[in-house]
Amino acid sequence: MTHTFAVYVDNQPGVLNRVASLFRRRAFNIESLTVGHTHEPGMSRMTIVVDTDEYGARRLEANLYKLVPVRRVENLSVRPSIARDLALIKVNVSGENRVQVMQLVDVYRAKIVDISPESLVIEATGNEGKIESFLEVLKPYGISELVRTGIVAMARGTGAPTRAATRVAADVQDNLGSYSV
């Protein structure tokens, strides 16, 4: 099954490479990965969708925590959450077809964001299933270009994850590990 992770990372050069490299070398296949700023300065948030079983998901979570710039990992698949995908769809339509497509846009609560004599650009947001279904009904009209953001996701309710970058004194840090010096 697919698992969706929210991963909080320090916004620093190379962090995307570190995360992507982890998935590659541990032989996990990324279905989608998005990254963007958060409301906290210096902190970015990734949404990563991966196809694996429960054991794989736990191991992946543990491996993500081993990356130094990773601050917090949440498996959103094990709790109620909202997932959204955004698509920009260019459809080559004119005349009669254009009216039909505009009606479909209304049904799917999408938006038309660009119009030219021969084409429309539609902006659609929703979970992956809705986008897939919308694309299916648009297909007969001729999709000439498509871009999707991949999933962004968030847990429902008030339980926002606490930022875990606790700053502790260096001498305390020294004693954190098991390492016997």
């Binding site: 050069p13 190379g14 490479n17 570190r18 490299s21 070398r25 054991y55 736990r58 191991r59 979570e61 543990a62 491996n63 925590y65 081993k66 990356l67 130094v68 990773v70 601050r71 917090r72 875990a164 970058a165 606790t166 700053r167 502790v168 004194a169 260096a170 840090q173 020294d174 954190l176 590990g177 098991s178 390492y179 016997s180 010096v181």
Partner: protein, 571 residues
């Protein structure tokens, strides 16, 4: 607040971490750092190849528990470190590697001796850093040491651009507080508990402890022995677990796995509970996973959560420091005699004794196993032995009985040939009062023998035992067993090692009779400085028992015995 160059900040930070020795090789991009080095109380060991520097730092760390430090220039200096870094990564050894980098303005321009070493080492370091500003040098070194030794230890690389070394900065030592992530230490839903573990142990009839490298890394030696004695649980060790439990402890069965003792592997297959402590169910210890310990429930403790349920699904998975975890169990254990189980293991042992090469006549041949056994006897088991990779490594693990932690240093996970000599130099520098022996094959020795010059330049008292069979012996053994004796590229010649030793100013001796082993070893021990013995051993001997790669753990190839053998379930 102090004002200094980035290069000075580097050494000042290293001194603050307690570093007294570094292993390195200078070059253009690291030259400012080398220039500043002279002003600090740190001894620099000039290696002959940067791979040697990383193995020395590794041997230093394994022998002492302190962080080893290697330093090299950009480009080829940095890439030569890759094998040593990967070796330390696979065996969880805390080392910090410092590399010079071209000036920050030149990065990405394919400048002379530029390589993307942070990119190259990304998958083989615990973490790495590219430092482009002088003010970042000291905080980065502080954090690098913390990362290297915290949790599951590992290698960290710090790449410092030339301009970050030459420019000046203000360093406020008190303000350097690394911001490391703690959450990986949190308990998560689904984690096993001490109560669950204790319940399984108390209920087991045929329990077995599998002790790994984590025992030593966690300093849990005493806890493991208490656990074993109180609950009467026998112990099997991984290769890197050797030394964590005294070889002579009556409950210590010896090594498990591909070349483990037959009775140990059979006991694993017959056990009803495996208590895996600080080990990671590597394919070399499990054999075929589909038939591995099918009768056993499993408890797994590892500080690295990512190891849990990785290769083997377990019933109780505990992500915790081993010493803490086992310490929590001890008061709740019910003392249990388990006589039937221990008697069964003794029965299995008897069968192996008649096959043991120690009990077989040598018929005038010099067997490597005899050499190792003599070495153990003559050093009274007190030496730190650093081995390379191959047949001699397995014979050492079988026939040198290690009673103390950190007394066997070997490349387990990566299996790096050429490791022994440089790692031994590091070990000797870390523990100058200990007797250090290199046990190495004639193949592996030729990979890094340039480091003889390093040992001589440092005036080290180091003993080298070359197990010379004229073959890349372990590969030859596989060719004998699995490739119809087609010896493709395994016969290997070498120099006259005694003459080579002479050229380096080293005492050397060739031995081809068992009667001469004792004399040569004692002479080497008496000799101050580096000494080398070239043991010309039986050429086509094989390591027994052997679980072929991917085979069931209990289906071992056994040493042919001259005596009639009562076949056991193990066969």
């Amino acid at each position: 607040m102090e004002t200094m160059t980035g290069a000075q900040a580097l050494w000042a930070a290293l001194v603050r971490e307690g570093v007294t020795e570094v292993f390195g090789y200078p070059g253009g991009a690291i030259l400012p750092a080398y220039d500043a080095m002279l002003g600090f109380p740190i001894h620099h060991v000039l290696v002959r190849h940067e791979q040697g520097a990383t193995h020395m730092a590794d041997g230093y760390a394994r022998a002492s528990g302190r962080v080893g430090v290697a330093i090299a220039t950009s480009g080829p200096g940095a890439t030569n470190m890759v094998t040593g870094i990967a070796t330390a990564m696979l065996d969880s050894v805390p080392i910090v590697c410092i590399t010079g980098q071209v000036g920050s303005k030149l990065i990405g321009s394919d400048a002379f001796q530029e390589t993307d070493i942070t990119g190259i080492t990304l998958p083989i370091t615990k973490h790495n850093y590219l430092v482009t500003r002088a003010e970042d040098v000291a905080p980065t070194i502080r954090e690098a040491f913390l990362v290297a030794k915290s949790g599951r230890p590992g290698p960290v690389l710090v790449d410092i651009t030339k301009d970050a070394q030459t420019t000046t900065c203000d360093v406020d030592w008190d303000a350097i507080v690394p911001q490391l992530n703690e959450t990986m230490d949190d308990e998560l839903p689904g984690d096993g508990t001490a109560a669950e573990a204790v319940k399984l142990i108390n209920a087991a009839e045929r329990p077995l402890i599998l002790a790994g490298h984590g025992v030593t890394l966690s300093g849990a030696e005493r806890e493991i022995i208490t656990l074993a004695e109180k609950a009467q649980v026998p112990i099997a060790m991984t290769l890197l677990g050797i030394g964590g439990v005294p070889a002579h402890h009556p409950l210590n069965l010896g090594m498990m796995g591909m070349h483990g003792e037959a009775w140990v592997n059979t006991a694993i297959q017959e056990a009803d509970l495996l208590i895996a402590l600080g080990m990671r169910f590597d394919d070399r210890v499990t054999g075929n996973l589909r038939t591995y310990a099918l009768n056993a429930k499993k408890i797994h403790v590892d500080i690295d959560r990512a190891e849990l349920n990785k290769n083997v699904r377990v019933d109780v998975a505990i992500a915790k420091d081993l010493r803490t975890a086992v310490g929590e169990w001890l008061p709740k254990l019910v003392p249990t005699p388990r006589q039937a189980w221990l008697a069964r293991i003794n029965e299995l042992k008897g069968d192996s004794a008649v096959r043991d090469i120690q009990n077989l006549p040598d018929n005038g041949h010099l067997y490597a196993a005899h050499v190792i056994n003599d070495l153990w006897r003559l050093t009274e088991g007190n030496a730190v032995v650093v081995t390379d990779v191959g047949q001699h490594q397995m014979w050492e693990a079988q026939y040198y009985k290690h009673d103390s932690p950190r007394s066997l240093i070997t490349s387990g996970g990566l299996g790096t040939m050429g490791f022994a000599l440089p790692a031994a130099i590091g070990a000797k520098m870390a523990c100058p009062d200990k007797e250090v022996w290199v046990v190495v094959g004639d193949g592996g020795f030729q990979m890094t023998m340039c480091e003889l010059a390093t040992a001589v330049q440092e005036g080290l008292d180091l003993n080298i035992c070359i197990v010379n069979n004229g073959y890349l012996g372990m590969v030859r053994q596989w060719q004998e067993f699995f490739y119809e004796k087609r010896y493709a590229a395994t016969p290997i010649t070498g120099p006259d090692f005694v003459k080579l030793a002479e050229a380096f100013g080293i005492w050397g001796k060739t031995v081809d009779q068992r009667a001469d082993v004792e004399n040569a070893v004692q002479n080497a021990r008496r000799h101050r400085g580096v000494s080398l013995i070239d043991f010309r051993v039986e050429q086509e001997d094989s390591v027994y028992p052997m679980v072929p790669a991917g085979a069931d753990l209990h289906k071992m190839i056994r040493r042919p015995s001259p005596h009639p053998i009562v076949e056991t379930a193990a066969d």
